[in-house]
């Protein structure tokens, strides 16, 4: 039996480096220590970024419990992949790329299609039902976000809540910068409409 020939598929990146931008709360030294395996530094990293990650996940998933699960999963993956992080990229952009991916996975898991039994053939076929664990969409904020598509919501939150650049968001979503701008524009337009409608409703009561 011959030994398997070792093969290698290498990753060869070729774009320009992006500037590094680390929040004042997490020093460069702490980040690099965490990258090199310092568990105390990693704990500090988690404490620093956990609230922001939870904020983003909650806005996307509408459920605190699911958002917590998603964020914890993200940090486990961050821990596994941190040794591959390079300073060319902003750390929060790298982090949110992983987080957005986990949120998309979680959202897919939470979407259920309901098929009716064969006895109900006359009923309407598949409907989507997002599971909203104990969370009632009373707040205008949730009503406004619910009017956006998943992609628009993600792009809007990354841009105007998390402060990522369009280039970073393009990398997160895997689309062109122009497409990101369009998603954000549409999200803004849709949110303005929703807010205007809500104001009108309130005045008419």
């Amino acid at each position: 039996m011959t030994a398997a020939r070792p093969r290698l598929l290498r990753a060869i990146p070729n774009d320009r480096p992006a500037p590094v931008d680390i929040p004042a709360a997490l020093s460069r030294e702490t980040l690099l220590s965490a990258r090199d395996g310092d568990s105390v530094a990693f704990a500090q990293l988690v404490r620093t970024y956990y609230p922001r990650c939870l904020r983003f996940a909650q806005h996307l998933l509408s459920s605190r419990e699911d958002a917590e699960e998603c964020v914890q999963d993200t940090f486990v993956r961050v821990h596994r992949a941190l040794h591959r992080y390079e300073e060319r990229e902003r750390f929060d952009a790298w982090l949110f790329r992983i987080l957005a991916n986990r949120c998309r996975t979680a959202r897919r898991r939470l979407t259920r299609w309901r098929l009716f039994h064969s006895a109900d053939l006359d009923r309407v076929t598949p409907i989507s039902a997002s599971r909203v664990d104990g969370f009632v969409a009373r707040d205008e904020i949730w009503h406004a976000l619910a009017g956006l598509t998943e992609e628009q919501r993600e792009a809007f939150l990354l841009r105007h809540v998390e402060g990522l650049t369009y280039e970073d968001i393009a990398a997160v979503a895997g689309i062109a910068v122009t497409a990101v701008r369009m998603r954000v524009s549409r999200a803004c337009a849709r949110l303005r409409e929703t807010i205007t409608d809500t104001d009108a409703e309130r005045r008419n009561r």
Binding site: P6, R7, L8, L9, R10, A11, I12, P13, N14, D15, R16, P17, A18, R77, A81, H83, R84, Y85, E86, R88, E89, A93, W94, R97, I98, N101, L115, F116, L121, T125, P126, D168, A170, A171, V172, A173, G174
Partner: protein
């Protein structure tokens, strides 16, 4: 006695020869009647009918209206017909089905012809399926097609193409955008295909960059293919 034996033998042979897939599907009579022209035409053209039955059954399970099921089955038959033409001569059933899937995600017929040029009969299916898989993962069909056809033209084995797909998946799960992941991993595969004898030396001298960051200036400059 002898004639009876031959008749039994013939009956058994014909029974075994009939494709099992078409026996497994039961459709209601109205739907079966509506599908009959498409299925008959496909069989007459020598296309595999199992995928067409599967598509019909999928529509039944998803409670789609009859017209929609008939339309979907007809569209699949058309794609298989087109794929067989592009993968001529003598495409296998698996290649036809894979080609139809590639066409469905937006890969062009020209790409199928190119893959056929480099892959003998029976080996074109997996490259096309990897292409479709990458497209579903978020890579533009044109980029997926370009990467896979270059790899195939460069002599990549099916195992290498599958490993490429798995590598892209790993990178995407680590946070890399799919198009970026495919670009980087394709460069790695290209280097590997171009210089297998120097692979160990190259790996020791200039290890590749991490995939978890967005692409930056790498320490290894890829050679143009």
């Amino acid at each position: 006695m002898r004639r009876t034996g031959i008749a039994v033998l013939l009956a058994l042979t014909l029974g075994v020869a009939r494709p099992a897939s078409s026996q497994a599907v039961k459709l209601d009579s109205a739907l079966a009647a509506a599908l009959s022209p498409t299925l008959d035409a496909a069989r007459a053209d020598g296309l595999p009918d199992a995928p067409l039955f599967a598509k019909a059954q999928e529509g039944v399970l998803k409670r789609a209206p009859r017209e929609r099921i008939v339309g979907a089955v007809a569209a699949l038959a058309d794609r298989m017909r087109a794929a067989r033409g592009e993968l001529a001569p003598n495409a296998t059933d698996h290649e036809i089905i894979a080609g139809a899937e590639a066409l469905a995600v937006g890969v062009s017929g020209q790409v199928l012809r190119t893959v056929r040029l480099y892959r003998p009969r029976g080996t074109a299916a997996m490259p096309l399926e990897v292409m479709a898989h990458l497209a579903w993962r978020g890579v533009a069909p044109a980029q997926a097609a370009d990467a896979i056809t270059r790899a195939v033209a460069g002599g990549a084995t099916t195992g290498q193409l599958v490993a490429l797909d798995a590598s892209v998946r790993q990178d995407v799960e680590s946070g890399v955008a799919p198009p970026v992941a495919l670009t980087s991993r394709t460069r790695g595969l290209t280097l590997q295909l171009q210089a297998p004898a120097n692979r160990a030396t190259a790996a020791d001298a200039a290890p590749p960059q991490s995939m978890s960051s967005s692409p930056g200036a790498g320490r290894v400059r890829p050679r143009k293919p």
